[in-house]
Symmetry: C2
Subunit: 262 residues, 2 copies
DNA sequence: CTTGTTGTGTAGTCCAGATTACGGAAGAGG
DNA sequence: CCTCTTCCGTAATCTGGACTACACAACAAG
């Protein structure tokens, strides 16, 4: 159940052991529709200030790669020195502890950038990133791009803003994890997720595409406990569910539950 | 034990109830030595790029205030729109949940700035800050200062770097909290704290000035459990202790313990 | 020295949530 | 339609750490 996937980027994970990604399908044919290799940077808020010319210049050195579901974008054996831009598909960013347990830091939707911290001199020590759907990703070497971004004060400010938001989110999560019971954390997380959905995913009407297991990983909780809470929420008609999809139906109720300590 | 202190900033905390700060001494005379009101901004890395002239200009609108131990720098009834610069003393930044439990986000040493996030458009919703020692603090209104900082790309970059470091620290803490047992968290935290000590506090030889209770608040754990772990660490000669002070004696051992999952 | 006050050690009880262990259901692929 | 895989529900047990309740030690102020 854990080692079905042999066709892997060789060597990224020594020992072929990947306890943090227990479920992985068989290799499946890529069904990526035709895509334009020159539209990586448009639509990304971070570069909104750049002229069309500048964007074109950067686009040229932004190779768009295709990642299979389950593939790792990098690991510490392949340390990253690049800015990622997610064009389609979804990516899970996570960290792994020594004993193999994982906490997912974020699940990125199309349009997201990842690796901003490295533009300001941070290294992402034990961060991993994995495509949870087939994904096309543009990758900009940080060195190449540094002069473009850091030299431009408007972009520097955008980076600041981005990092500021991230700090706020992380502080929120940290206090939730430390102080709130699981039920409240689930409610809170579902609310945040449902807000992020419509921005990038205009597909249906506000469906969160996550399995209970993925949600649990985001909470640092067990799948079983998470499932239990989800069942209760469904019973209270706060959400509706179906195999891999969650629909928030009663925001107010969730808000109240997110605040309660029982 | 919880309501001895009546001479308080009136109105900052409705109902006179402060469950998150259980221990508070009687009012004591301020023993602040003489200090120069015009040295707030020097010595602060964030402003290293400014000319002496600019610093002087900002210094003029930076009123240095004196806060008593236990006093709140602000609360949500006094929402902050200011950048703080800690000149002397120490400050605890913390968040409070609905049920009154608190998690301290950071303990700031002299030279630290606090409120950077607000320069990039973040509001700090339920953040509190409290002086845990008598402290002198310079306070710059964000509006006043915005043009100085955001207009200068060098400063914008410094802010980015600052926020980037904060993101890294928070991610680390989050995964520790989610994945590691308390003993490992304590070890890890002590290591980080002991690194920060010599930078700002050259007083004695690397003594961490924290009570078990304060450490527990930093971990989101109970005082008792924290004390137990501290006892074990002392038994293993990883640290030495004395009422409110902690000395790390065996870094390597702590590193190993910080990694273990038992 | 005496007394209050705050920090630390210890022990017992209790519980949320991890772990373990199934069984069943919804899809996917043939 | 049948099979295989992933996802979800549920129930029993176990455990780290919260919570409750003291006892004592270090220091501070008188």
């Amino acid at each position: 159940m854990r080692e079905e996937c042999k066709n892997e980027l060789a060597g990224v994970v020594p020992g072929d052991l990947r306890p943090w990604t227990p479920n992985l399908r068989e290799a499946e044919p890529l069904v990526s529709g035709p895509f334009d290799p020159f539209s990586c940077l448009t639509e990304v808020e971070l570069f909104a200030d750049l002229s069309a010319q500048e964007i074109a210049a950067m686009d040229l050195m932004a190779p768009a790669r295709l990642f299979r579901r389950g593939e790792l974008l990098f690991s510490q054996s392949q340390p990253v020195t690049a800015l990622f831009i997610l064009k389609s598909g979804r990516v899970r960013v996570f960290r792994v502890a020594e004993d193999g347990k994982a906490l997912t830091m974020a699940i990125l939707e199309p349009g997201a950038v990842f690796g901003e911290m490295m533009l300001v001199g941070q290294r992402m020590y034990d961060n991993y990133a994995e495509a949870i759907e087939d994904a096309t990703i543009c990758q900009l070497s940080v060195d190449e791009v540094e002069r473009f971004l850091l030299s431009d004060p408007r972009i520097a400010i955008r980076i600041s803003r981005l990092l500021g938001e991230q700090v706020a989110r992380l502080e929120e999560r940290l206090t939730d994890l430390a102080l709130k019971p699981l039920s409240a954390q689930v409610a809170s997380t579902l609310l945040k997720l449902s807000e992020n959905v419509p921005t990038h995913r205009f597909s249906q009407d506000r469906t969160i595409h996550l399995t209970h297991e993925q949600l649990a990983g985001l909470l640092g909780a067990s799948r079983e406990a998470t499932s239990k809470v989800m069942g209760e929420l469904t019973g209270k008609n706060a959400i509706r569910q179906g195999r891999g999809r969650i629909i928030v139906t009663d925001r107010d109720l969730l808000h109240r539950l997110a605040r309660s300590s029982s």
